[in-house]
Structure formats: structure tokens, C-alpha cells
């Protein structure tokens, strides 16, 4: 057991890769076997990752389950893994969402099943590696590798303009991450100049002294990389395209996990590496975050395509998360991290439902539906729960995260918070209006007359997510108690930065005068 725990992170990261390797030897024609095997293996992976949760010590901000081996000695790159309260839940989210999306693909993915399940599992490895690595080079490698399977998933199993969307997705993110690489290497060299040591160890790079102007330049560079991933307005336009054309599983992974990388990148890299620059640029970023919230919501109102609506709602929700993170109070960052989990669950669930609509009717236009609640009551009830969780109804998960973000940001950024809070009105408008047009009213389209209710497998797909919605909504302490030490430490890093503190004070003085 102790050996297992010692190398648990590596085991978790590479288990999906191993599973993919096993699947390579399965006959291409045995689609049923491939699907079942992949699903079961991803479930095993999820159960493996739950060990992290069980053995995670919730009273410390230190990295846990650390593994470290020298890798490329010449420039100090190492195989360095470890997780804290934030990456713990990101990893759990990843393993859960992969399982759920594999389970959801039984009907949706009809051809090239083997390639699909293998790509999904490979993607899982890369995502997990990104969340767990504490070495900048390792992180970057995993980060870039992620694009490849995603490119194929959108490009091969997508619909409509899938090639366009896949290329847009790759180019957008690639452009961002190259600029980010430039920034990370600059810090690496700076650190060498200051200490004489080559190292990609993130924890050591944290101590690099970066001159303020350079910091700002670098921060902007890295910001672009992560902001595209989040996405923040105005870097969001790849998202609706990618989501709309991706297969259900792709959308679920994209919304559930990939978008979190942007925020995670800010949390793990951009802000702790360049705290002063982060503090100086905060107002601008907050403006973008608030614009994202309102913009995403307003545009969602008028969408005609279900998937596009959910995609734009993602922009709005991610705006909340950015607001919470950059308000940089313990409460708001707590909320922000919790909301990352929530968004993965709620939006992931919404995409699952949209996928079920598509499987049944081969359309995603809202106008083609209507009155389905009569034909599919279970579908309607569960879909409603997912919608309400996205609306942020108290008692469900979305509320806790949003409220913490808002209440944490309120004191310092009152105006931003007021605007952001108006987002809760819009969320009700676009989601409930959509729900009404899809589920309520009378059946106007004859094709909806034989709309089938959910099958057992479909219920099982969404049930874990629905359960989590209630659980986080009613008893978020399980999550918050593990997140909180990390977050408090994160906030302390920034606040203890005296230079930054003075700067802020000077800036306040400027604003006052």
C-alpha cells in the first residue's frame, strides 16, 4: 500500500495510457468490447483517483504525493509531480468527466470506435499530467500534447464544419501557448542569471525576482496563453465553434476539463510567478471578466442552437471564475475553485443532455423541440436540475460557488461585483427560456411525438453529476475544507509580497487623488 501511495500520481497519470495500449490489441471490429472495456477502465481510473481524495491531508497547503526524478539534467528539467487542494479536485473532475463522456458515447460515436476510445484515454493521461506536474517543462509538454487528441476528436467525430472548428481550436490555443512558452523560458533564464542554476522546478522559479516592467510584459504574454483557454472575452470565439461541432464527449471534456486549464494556469503559474504584475493588471482583467459574464449571458439569450447556447453560457460562467480568482481574497478564490468544479459538472451535464437531444432528433435547434416534458418526464426532471444548477439556484452547487465569488469580491471591487451579480438575472433568462421552449408548451413538431425517455445507461451517465450537484450544494464543506488551505496560502503569497502591497497602496492613492 505504501508503495502504491508513493507512486500513486504516476500510476493515475499513466493508467489511462496503459489502458489505451491494451485497447490497441483489441480487434477493431469488436466495438462493443472496446466500448465496455474503455468505460470500465476509465471507471477503474476514477476509483484509483479517489484514493487521492481519501488519503489527502486537508490541513496543509504543502504539495502531497510528491514524486521527483531527475529527467534532463542538462537544463534542470525533472519529472516532478505533486498535488494540492486545487489540483486534487481538478484530477478528480478529469477522471470523472472522462468516465462520464465515455459512457455517453455509446450511441453517439458510430464509426472508428477503437480510435475514439484510445484517443479519449490518451487525452486523459495528458490532462492528468498537466494538472499534476510541478515542473514547468513537463507541464508544457503535457499541455501541448493535449491538443492533439482533442484535435482529432473534434475533427473526426464532429459535425458540420468540424475541420474548420478543429483547426480554429488548435491554432487559437497553439498561438496562445507559444507566447506562454516564451514567457516561461524567459523566467527560466532569469532564474539562471540570478542563481546560476538551471531549473524548471516551479517551486524554485516562484522565487525569481523579475523586474516590474518585464513582469508586466511577461504577464501579458502568459495571460494571452491562458486567457484563450479560459476563454475570456474577446478571446472566446473559438469556443462556440469548437463546442458546437465537437461530439458530445468532446464537448463534455472541453467544458468540463479543458477550460479549467486556463484558470488553473493563472492559479498555478501566472499569478504566483508574477504577483506584482498580476496585481497591477487586475483591474483590466476584471473588466474583461465582467464583460465575459454579461456578454456571454446576453449572447446566450438569442442563440437558436442548444449547444451554442450552452457554450456561450460557459463564457459567462468562466467570467465568474476569473472574477473570483483575480479578486484574490480567500473567500473569492475558494469560490472560484469550487466554481471550477461546479462548472465542469453543470455544463458537462448540460452538454450530455444536448447530446441526448441530438441522438434522438438529429437536430439541436431549439425551435425543433417543444413539449417534450410530456413524453419524457425523467429526461425533463433531470435536465431541469442541470439547468437550475447552472442558473445558480440555492441548494444546488452553482449557488455556493457564485455566492462565494461575489461576496469575496464585493469589498474591494464593488462595482465589478454589482455588474457580475446582474449575471444571475440573465442566467435565469436564457436558461429558463430555453428550457421552456424545449420542454414545456405543447408539442408542435410531429417528430417529437415519439421522443423517447432516458434509457438506463443515460440515467447512469448523468446520475453521478446530478448527485454531485446536490452534494456540493448542500454540503460543500467536504470540498471547501480541502481547497481552503491551498487557497489561503495562495492569497498569503500575494499579500506578503510587500513590494506589491506598497504598489497597490500607491495605486490606490492614485485613484483617490
Amino acid at each position: 500500500m505504501s508503495i502504491f501511495l508513493k507512486y500513486i500520481l504516476s500510476i493515475i497519470i499513466f493508467f489511462p495510457l496503459l489502458s489505451a495500449l491494451i485497447l490497441v490489441f483489441v480487434n477493431k471490429k469488436a466495438e462493443g468490447l472496446l466500448r465496455n472495456l474503455a468505460t470500465v477502465l476509465s471507471l477503474v481510473e476514477f476509483l484509483l483517483s479517489s484514493f487521492l481524495f481519501i488519503y489527502f491531508k486537508s490541513n496543509t497547503y504543502e504539495f502531497q504525493f510528491v514524486e521527483r526524478f531527475s529527467w534532463i539534467r542538462a537544463f534542470g528539467a525533472s519529472y516532478f509531480l505533486g498535488i494540492d487542494g486545487v489540483s486534487l479536485f481538478m484530477i478528480l473532475l478529469t477522471t470523472l468527466m472522462t468516465f462520464v463522456s465515455l459512457l455517453s458515447s455509446y450511441k453517439y460515436i458510430k464509426d472508428h470506435v477503437k480510435e475514439f476510445v484510445i484517443l479519449m484515454l490518451v487525452l486523459e493521461t495528458f490532462m492528468l499530467g498537466t494538472f499534476a506536474s510541478l515542473d514547468v517543462l513537463l507541464f508544457y509538454l503535457f499541455w501541448e500534447f493535449m491538443l492533439i487528441p482533442m484535435y482529432f476528436i473534434i475533427g473526426m467525430w464532429g459535425s458540420g464544419r468540424r475541420i474548420y472548428s478543429a483547426v480554429k481550436f488548435v491554432l487559437y490555443t497553439l498561438a496562445g501557448s507559444l507566447i506562454m512558452l516564451f514567457g516561461l523560458i524567459t523566467i527560466f533564464i532569469l532564474h539562471y542569471n540570478q542563481t546560476g542554476n538551471f531549473t524548471f522546478n516551479l517551486l524554485k522559479l516562484y522565487n525569481t525576482n523579475i523586474p516590474l516592467t518585464l513582469q508586466i510584459v511577461l504577464f501579458i504574454a502568459i495571460f494571452l496563453g491562458f486567457a484563450v483557454k479560459v476563454p475570456v472575452f474577446p478571446f472566446h470565439t473559438w469556443l462556440p465553434d469548437a463546442h458546437t461541432e465537437a461530439p458530445t464527449a468532446g464537448s463534455v471534456i472541453l467544458a468540463g476539463v479543458l477550460l479549467k486549464f486556463g484558470v488553473y494556469g493563472f492559479f498555478r503559474f501566472a499569478i504566483p510567478l508574477m504577483p506584482e504584475a498580476a496585481l497591477i493588471l487586475t483591474p483590466i482583467i476584471l473588466v474583461l471578466a465582467v464583460i465575459s459574464i454579461i456578454y456571454g449571458a446576453l449572447v446566450s439569450i438569442v442563440q437558436k442552437d442548444l449547444k451554442r447556447l450552452v457554450a456561450f453560457s460557459s463564457v459567462s460562467h468562466m467570467g465568474f471564475i476569473m472574477l473570483g480568482l483575480f479578486a484574490m481574497t480567500a473567500v473569492s478564490v475558494d469560490g472560484s475553485v469550487l466554481q471550477m468544479i461546479n462548472h465542469g459538472i453543470s455544463t458537462g451535464a448540460l452538454f450530455l443532455f444536448v447530446g441526448m437531444f441530438y441522438e434522438r432528433r438529429h437536430t439541436r435547434l431549439i425551435a425543433d423541440f417543444g413539449g417534450l416534458a410530456k413524453k419524457a418526464p425523467i429526461f425533463a426532471a433531470l435536465f431541469m436540475i442541470a439547468v437550475l444548477s447552472s442558473v445558480g439556484l440555492p441548494g444546488l452547487n452553482g449557488f455556493v460557488g457564485e455566492f462565494l465569488i461575489l461576496v469575496g469580491s464585493f469589498k474591494q471591487y464593488t462595482v465589478f461585483t454589482i455588474f457580475a451579480t446582474s449575471g444571475i438575472i440573465f442566467a435565469a433568462v436564457y436558461l429558463l427560456w430555453m428550457f421552456q421552449r424545449v420542454m414545456f408548451q405543447d408539442i408542435t413538431n410531429q417528430k417529437n411525438e415519439d421522443f423517447k425517455d432516458m434509457t438506463f445507461r443515460e440515467i447512469m451517465t448523468v446520475l453521478p453529476l446530478i448527485f454531485l450537484m446536490f452534494f456540493i450544494g448542500l454540503y460543500p464543506d467536504v470540498f471547501l475544507s480541502r481547497i481552503n488551505p491551498t487557497v489561503v496560502h495562495f492569497v498569503n503569497i500575494i499579500e506578503h509580497n510587500k513590494y506589491a502591497y506598497n504598489l497597490i497602496k500607491a495605486k490606490m492613492g492614485l485613484f483617490n487623488a
Binding site: 480567500a330 421552456q436 464543506d477 471547501l480
Partner: protein, 627 residues
């Protein structure tokens, strides 16, 4: 957990259990969900009564279930406080809920969604109980939204009807606008006080600067405006009548819509430190009371008339709490809950007997066909009109007396005017429905409702008739006021409903207003000695204004809804697809155009390559030599 705590937590437990059982296993319970659901609520009612006496003869107490949110310095528990204010609300809510549940068994009989209906209804009762018992602002906010959600699903219960699902959505969204303010208020309290617990907030609020107190009070009031459907967010309540009638009785008359008044009474400390916020409450209450009564006079849909009447009566309550006469506001809240619940349920009974007809022009002379309904309806009408000795007389009179004593003569006059209009429109309704000649469709078999429906009506009617006596003038010595005033005594501008003037003089004025309203209706609709059509023509503009509800829905549609939609389309079509994607695609285009031009250099002609090479060498040499 001692026995007190246990009883407190069992009160919301039973409705919640019911909600889950009927919601998940509804098809196995079928009709039992109605009976069992009612029994669950009755158990809650009995427990509430127990708690009532515990508090009345003991102290208020707090009990905590578990720690809900614990994020560094933001801590909130799931916990409740039971004091005099909340036990009164508890008994009222569970009592009326029990009756409505029983009534619903008859009303919703044979409906396909029978179990679903009781699931929703139980969920609502659970949320309402928790809203009342919450001991901090966040929990209050949570259940504030939860009752809004229950109202949403219950209004849209018959979701196949487009109007019903529209009305549900409208209710939820308009409520959210109010909740937006409420949420900001809660945040403002937290960032300034560092806590959300009632007791700590109320004991420390006076340390804040006055402008902050006023802002907090006004933001909380924004929530109350939304939930209690006050002007300018009143538009959802009349539409909410699309829901089943018992729902209208329970949620949109007796309990949920009064949550706003409860909120202000609960936060009376905050409001008492902010005279300006209290004035805003008074003014909004006055405006709503007046315009709602004005609109109610010309409507034809019986449920909508009663809905506007609810708005108007809520306006009274807000006027009361606005001048600091919290006890009078709460007293009217309770008595209104009884007689308005009665009116809605009787209206439902009329609908039931008329196969769903709502237009009072198609009724008339129903008295002989449904005597029980008619008599109970008239009792409710008399209570609403403030005719002694029915309950509405005492409760409304306390408010009017407080207004007069406070020196707010303007609002007193408005109050009396509204009293006149109230008596007019409700008796216009009664005369048109129950008396006069019949306009009922000949094929319609009009019948009295079954006992399961009429018994709750009779119980309510009895209460509506006698309830007022516990708040008899001189007010402060009556049972009700001496009980509840202990809770309000610590607020600053507290004005118990004292009477410096002989109360019977003021009462006489209101009674005259009520009776003249009834008489006017009598003249118009029974004696028909005045030509209505001619009056309508003479006051065409006024009539149109009232009939079209002051065009407020249209104004909102024109000024807010449509511009917002257009703006969203603009953002999507222009900003998103054109500007941003245009910029992105523009860069891509530029790169592709430039590279296709640069590509031409590579023309495959060996000679040109060699030529370029030579020129390059020569240029290098030249550079070398010139340097």
C-alpha cells in the same frame, strides 16, 4: 439534539420528506400522495403549534443542524431561530397549507400530475418554513429563492399551456431582478459586519454609517419588492394566476408573497435606523395599493381581480411596516392570509363548478347553485372590504390608524381611498358572479364542490369572521399586539398602533369608505340605475388605463425586453461574428494572402535562382569593398 431542536427540525422535515417521496416515487403512491401529503403538513402544523406555545410561554431559541459553508472567513450554518414573529408565521403558513392541501385533493382530482403537484406543494411548504425559521441572511436568501422556484414550477404546472409556462418563467425572472438587489444587500451586510447571523447583524448595525444602513435596507427591500410583487415589479403576480387555484391561494396570496413584509418585519432594526429607506417602503406600498386597486376595478377575470387585490393589500402592509408599525403589518399579513386564501379557494370552487370558466361576464346568479361557496366568498369579501366585525376591519383599521397617528395624512387618505375601491371591486365581483341574471352557458352543468373542498372553505370563513378580535382596538392591549410587540420593542422608530385620537372616529371613516364602495357596486350592478356604458365612454382614457393595467407590461416590453434582445443579437451577430471573428479571420487572411504572394518567388526557374544567388554574392562583395 434535545427535544426542542428535534421538534423544530421535524417541522420542515415532513414536507421535505413528502416532496421527495411524491417526486421520486409518485407513480407508486398515486392518490395517496394527496392524503399522505396533507397529513404530513398537518403534522407540521401541530408541531408548529407546539413550538408556538413553547415560545409564547418560554423563550425564543436557536438550533443548528450543521455547518454549511466554511470558506476561510465566510462561515454560514444551517440553523434556525424561533421567536415570536416566526412562530406566528409558522402557525399561519402550516395552518393555511394544511387547508389548501386538503382542498387540493378535491380540486386536483383526476389530474395526471396529481403526485407531482403534491410533491411541488410539499416542497414549497418546506421552503417557506425554512425561510421563516432561518437565522441568517444567507439561509434566508436560499429559501427566498427556493420559494421563488417552487412558485415557478407551480405556476407552470400545466406546462403544456404556453401562457402558463410563460407566466412561470416571468415570475422567476422578475423575482430574480428583486433577488439581485437582495443578494447585493446580503453581501453588503457581510462585508461590513463580517457575519450574516441575524442577532449579530441586528445588534451591530447601528455602528455603520447611515448611508450604508440605508443602502442595505433599500437593497433588502428590492428583494421584498420582487417577492411581494410591489410596484414596479408587480407584473408577475397577475400572470401567476395561470397556476392551479389552490396554488394561487397558498403561494400568491397567503404565504410567499407576504415574505417581503416578513423580511422587513424581521429586519425592523435595520429599517428603523434608516428613516429614508422606511419612507421608500411607505411610498412604494402606497403606490402599489392604489394602482392595484385602480386596475382591479375594471378586470373581468375573477382570479386576476383577486390577484390585484392581493397586490393592493400587500401595499397596505408595506405602508404599515414603512411607518414602523410592524405589528400592524404582521397582523394584517395574517388576517389577509386567511381571508385572501379563502377568496382564492372560493374562486377555485366557482371555477370548479363552472368547468374552469373565469370570466365574470359569463357568470351570474350562482348563489342558488352553490350556496356554501357563495356564502364563504361573501364572508371573505366582507373581510376584505373592512366591514366590522370581520377580520379585515381590525387589521386594516390598525394600519390606517397608525398612518393617521404618524401624521402621514396623505397616505391615510390614499388608504381610505383604496378601502373604498377595494370594497367596490370585490362586490362588483360578488354581484356579478353570485347575483343578478345568469349569463352562464346553458349547456354547462353548474354544481357545488365536494365536501373535501367546501370544508376548508368553511373553516377559513370562520376564521376570517372572528380572527380580528384578537387584535381589537385599543390595539396595544389586545392579545395579538401584546404578544408580538415584545419582538419589535427594540427598534428605533417603532410606533405601536397607538391611538391618540378616539379610534372609533377613524374606524367610522373606514367603515363608511367600505360601505360606500359596496353601495356603489350595488348601484352599478344590481340596481343598474346608472348607465355603465355611458360612464365608460365619458371617462374613456381613465377606463382604458385601468383596463390595460396602466400599460406597464407594454412599457417594459418596449423599453427593456426588446432593446435587450436587439442588443444581444447585435452582440452576437456584429461583435462576435463580425468584429472579433473578423479580426481573427482577418489575421489569418492576411497571413494567407502574404504567403501566397511570397510563394511566387519560388518559381521553379533554375536561372532565376542562380540569378538571385549571383546578385546576392555581388551585393555582399560590394558591401565588403565599400566598407
Amino acid at each position: 439534539m434535545n427535544s426542542k431542536d428535534l421538534i423544530v427540525w421535524l417541522i420542515p422535515f415532513f414536507p421535505l420528506l413528502g416532496a421527495i417521496l411524491w417526486g421520486v416515487f409518485g407513480k407508486y403512491f398515486k392518490n395517496y400522495s394527496g392524503y399522505l401529503g396533507s397529513i404530513f403538513i398537518i403534522i407540521s402544523f401541530i408541531l408548529s403549534t407546539v413550538i408556538f406555545f413553547m415560545v409564547a410561554y418560554g423563550h425564543s431559541f436557536t438550533s443548528t443542524l450543521y455547518s454549511w459553508i466554511d470558506a476561510s472567513y465566510f462561515k454560514v450554518n444551517i440553523s434556525t431561530t424561533v421567536d415570536r414573529l416566526s412562530v406566528i408565521m409558522l402557525v399561519m403558513v402550516t395552518g393555511i397549507s394544511s387547508l389548501v392541501h386538503i382542498y387540493s385533493i378535491g380540486y386536483m382530482k383526476d389530474d395526471k400530475g396529481f403526485a407531482r403537484y403534491f410533491s411541488y406543494l410539499n416542497l414549497f411548504v418546506f421552503s417557506m418554513i425554512m425561510l421563516i425559521m432561518a437565522n441568517n441572511f444567507l439561509l434566508l436568501y436560499v429559501f427566498w429563492e427556493a420559494v421563488g422556484f417552487c412558485s415557478y414550477i407551480l405556476i407552470g404546472f400545466w406546462y403544456e399551456k404556453k401562457s402558463a409556462s410563460n407566466a412561470g418563467k416571468k415570475a422567476f425572472i422578475v423575482n430574480r431582478i428583486g433577488d439581485f438587489g437582495f443578494a447585493l444587500g446580503v453581501m453588503l451586510i457581510f462585508v461590513n459586519m463580517g457575519t450574516l447571523n441575524y442577532s449579530s447583524v441586528f445588534s451591530g448595525i447601528h455602528l455603520l454609517p447611515p448611508y450604508l444602513i440605508t443602502t442595505i435596507a433599500l437593497l433588502l427591500f428590492a428583494g421584498a419588492i420582487g417577492k411581494s410583487a410591489q410596484f414596479p415589479l408587480h407584473v408577475w403576480l397577475p400572470d401567476a394566476m395561470e397556476g392551479p387555484t389552490p396554488v394561487s391561494a397558498l403561494i400568491h396570496a397567503a404565504t410567499m408573497v407576504t415574505a417581503g413584509v416578513y423580511l422587513i418585519a424581521r429586519c425592523h432594526v435595520i429599517f428603523s435606523y434608516s428613516p429614508s429607506a422606511s419612507n421608500v417602503v411607505l411610498i412604494i406600498g402606497g403606490i402599489t395599493a392604489f394602482i392595484a386597486a385602480f386596475i382591479a376595478m375594471t378586470q373581468f377575470d375573477i382570479k386576476r381581480i383577486i390577484a390585484y387585490s392581493t397586490l393592493s393589500q400587500l401595499g397596505y402592509m408595506f405602508m404599515a411596516v414603512g411607518i414602523g408599525s410592524y405589528a400592524a403589518g404582521i397582523f394584517h399579513l395574517v388576517s389577509h392570509a386567511i381571508f385572501k386564501g379563502l377568496l382564492f379557494l372560493t374562486a377555485g370552487s366557482v371555477m370548479h363548478g363552472m368547468s374552469g370558466e373565469l370570466d365574470l361576464r359569463k357568470m351570474g346568479g350562482l348563489y342558488s347553485k352553490m350556496k356554501k361557496t357563495a356564502i364563504t366568498f361573501i364572508v371573505g369579501g366582507l373581510a376584505l372590504s373592512g366591514i366590522p366585525p370581520f377580520s379585515g376591519f381590525f387589521s386594516k383599521d390598525a394600519i390606517l390608524a397608525s398612518l393617521f397617528n404618524k401624521g402621514d395624512y396623505f397616505f391615510w387618505i390614499i388608504g381610505e381611498l383604496v378601502a373604498f375601491m377595494t370594497a367596490f371591486y370585490i362586490f362588483r365581483l360578488i354581484f356579478n358572479v353570485f347575483f343578478g341574471e345568469s349569463h352562464v352557458d346553458k349547456n354547462l352543468h353548474v354544481h357545488e364542490s365536494p365536501n373535501v373542498m367546501t370544508v376548508p372553505l368553511i373553516i377559513l370563513a370562520c376564521f376570517a369572521a372572528v380572527f380580528g378580535f384578537i387584535g381589537m382596538p385599543p390595539f396595544n392591549h389586545s392579545i395579538f399586539y401584546s404578544f408580538i410587540n415584545k419582538d419589535f420593542a427594540n427598534s428605533l422608530n417603532f410606533s405601536p398602533a397607538v391611538n391618540n385620537y378616539p379610534w372609533y372616529l377613524l374606524s367610522t371613516v373606514s367603515v363608511i369608505a367600505g360601505i360606500s364602495g359596496i353601495y356603489t357596486a350595488y348601484v352599478f350592478y344590481i340596481k343598474k340605475s346608472l348607465d355603465l356604458e355611458m360612464l365608460k365612454k365619458r371617462f374613456k382614457a381613465v377606463y382604458a388605463l385601468s383596463y390595460n393595467k396602466l400599460y406597464i407590461d407594454e412599457i417594459y416590453d418596449f423599453a427593456i425586453v426588446r432593446p435587450m434582445k436587439n442588443f444581444s443579437v447585435f452582440l452576437w451577430r456584429v461583435v462576435d461574428s463580425f468584429v472579433i471573428d473578423g479580426a481573427v479571420n482577418g489575421i489569418a487572411q492576411w497571413i494567407s494572402v502574404t504567403s501566397s504572394k511570397v510563394r511566387k518567388v519560388q518559381n521553379g526557374m533554375l536561372m532565376s535562382y542562380v540569378f538571385t544567388l549571383t546578385v546576392g554574392v555581388i551585393a555582399l562583395l560590394a558591401y565588403y569593398f565599400v566598407r
